[in-house]
Symmetry: C2
Amino acid sequence: MLDTVLLWAEKNKGRWLGDLKSWLSIPSVSTQPEHEGDVRAAADWAKDYLRTIGMTVEIIPTKRHPCILATTPPHLCPPDAPHVLLYGHYDVQPAEPLELWETPAFMPAVRDDKLFARGACDDKGQVHCHLAALTAWKEINHAFPCRVTIILEGEEEIGSPNLMDVVKAHAELLKTAKVLIVSDTNQFAEGVPSITYGLRGLAGFEIVLNGASTDLHSGMYGGAVANPAHVLCEIIGKLHDADGRVTVPGFYDDVQALTEQERKMWAGLPFSEEAFARELGIKEVFGEAGFTTLERKWARPTLEVNGLTSGYQGPGGKTVLPCRASAKITCRLVPNQDPQKIGDACEAYIRSLAGSRVTVEVLRSKGGSPPAITPIDSPAMHAAAEALEIGFGKPPIFQREGGSIPVVAWFKEALGLDTIMVGFGLPNDRIHAPNEKLDLSCYYGGIRTAAALYDLLGSQLK
Amino acid sequence: MLDTVLLWAEKNKGRWLGDLKSWLSIPSVSTQPEHEGDVRAAADWAKDYLRTIGMTVEIIPTKRHPCILATTPPHLCPPDAPHVLLYGHYDVQPAEPLELWETPAFMPAVRDDKLFARGACDDKGQVHCHLAALTAWKEINHAFPCRVTIILEGEEEIGSPNLMDVVKAHAELLKTAKVLIVSDTNQFAEGVPSITYGLRGLAGFEIVLNGASTDLHSGMYGGAVANPAHVLCEIIGKLHDADGRVTVPGFYDDVQALTEQERKMWAGLPFSEEAFARELGIKEVFGEAGFTTLERKWARPTLEVNGLTSGYQGPGGKTVLPCRASAKITCRLVPNQDPQKIGDACEAYIRSLAGSRVTVEVLRSKGGSPPAITPIDSPAMHAAAEALEIGFGKPPIFQREGGSIPVVAWFKEALGLDTIMVGFGLPNDRIHAPNEKLDLSCYYGGIRTAAALYDLLGSQLK
């Protein structure tokens, strides 16, 4: 039956692409209040899509953006079918800076066999691989090969503040699942199908420094009043040493060292630092001394400024002494760092550096994310590896990833579920940046993989 | 005759205020291209105003914003009248951030006997004191008490790039002036009329650091690619030492030390550091060790960040590793620092700090401004002191100012003219910031002072 389903999926490529484009056209930016209605529209789109293939779909309201919970009704799957959970998100990052997009972020466009749009890879495109695969199964087989529950949230890009309330409220249903599938990661490289077994966590905060009650004329006051922009730069300038190590006391205390096996496995991957640098348009890589680029990205923690704001930013000059300066900062965490503990350590250190010249606020982000690692050796992992070989024509490699998917740790904690991360993106997909894209070969390979995965899990998890 | 003119000026207060409000309603922001037409409209307003009182007015086009050159025709002043030059500017700073204005920047409003608008103090309000005084002279006396030439530029806030071309083209006329009057400074405090005899200069530049060719996902790349925001903060964090001194090599080489006489004179001024801090809403003053607040503001050079920009600045968070970070910086200079030399020193030092991790651009602003000092003891200074006593009821004090008026040094160089700075603003007028204002008592005192000044210069400079 799988062969027929795969053929059908192949035959309907244009249809899947059209469906995905219509979903991508909805600017479901969860962090920007003006897009609240669009987030809701993207949820409705998914609800309608899943209802069409016979799933039971609920839109579950939260304090901000709704969750979609869809499940295959009993009459549409084998009576003894194992239960599999799929998690994904339909919200996207802001598209700014808009002027750097070659085609508008929310007008999906195909160029050179790549689909360009905000969310093409992260995560609508990858989620849609599963939706298309399930559609193909339903149309060809009139039923699904296993019991599938899908949970799609609209708040992943703002830290999933309400997801676990939804999960806990539906724990009775969700607990019967045997594994959690997530497609929100990358393949190691083009033509290298990959399973991701570890993720970094996240802790975020904003430093806000206030000086005088208003911006001041830099001639009349300059030299006699502390400038918050100077203090901010002094603080941030001290958060790393010359070797690229984070200087926050205690920052590395709980970091789990890399195993020799991992260092060896990664050293064998087809990776060129020169090509990596060239692709990003930089002259040379830079990071913590004593580690390779892959180790830095996957298994070492960071403290990264995401944004700086102070004073006048328009064209020309303005001779002000700004009254305020702020920086948005996130830390990527690795096992066994704790987001709360790292946030506390950063806040305390920043306050100690700030002195008394300006007032200091450290606004802690809610919804930090713990780092995660999943065991490689399990029946579900084997099924995933086989499905990827069917989807992409060769067996996958095992990697970690530098990004954060908080739900992986949360689902483990709340439901005891292990996660299999089967990602279809590529490292150069520019997620979170202008001109985000998804290669069509990854998209169609992802549909084939998902079609095979549900079949293999249905038979192998019994 | 002066008494009658002063009475007339007093009687027409409401009329002068209405005239000034109409000028302030024109958003003549010289740095923002979208206001080009408004700058021109503000020039036309002044042209019409000056023609109405019988002056010969020319609007002189430049590469960007026009200059106004107005002069009293021979039949409207005494045959042997000395020639006096007035310089001012009709352009204004940007009004951003707009949301911090209590009433819109370009809808002048009087509250508590203060006039609120962008340009109320800097410099339309102060220029209008002279225009109103000359109007009163013309209406009462049917002639002016001396020969007056007025040059009003529309590019002061962008560094006066074209002013000196205009001045040189009209040098034959302007060279016959005996003194240059400028009203673009503050009184030392409310009720303390002041003459300013020194100004700081200005050298500006922007640091632009570029990393990868696009913003990157901070999870996928964080730790392995240099972050330009980190490098920018490191650089800026090193531009001052813990004592508030600028660390750029050679920065203080040409600084003329304060004389004991100046330190003593300023120490005797009615100044309270506590009140100064309270008024600005800061807990304590901060600046270069070894100097008082007045010395820091008036006679010590600075390096000040006017704006910082990098990465995501909207609401919420965005986990990017920014590809670009920039800072707008200006230095305030004191005699005998040279803007070009200081700019060179800063650029070289910044490049040396930046290393090779990111690419560095240092964009130098055109139109730096040399610092200036004018001798205190001259007939014109005496006339100005007497005029201020008539205008404000007590003799003035002598101060320097921390701001920059490049034309003062340029006019000296081009025409050999000394400048008398008779300012009517107050230190809390919030020029260059939201809610700029001019106290009506200063405005009307300024009109009286200007009326007396032209009369006194007419008799004392013969």
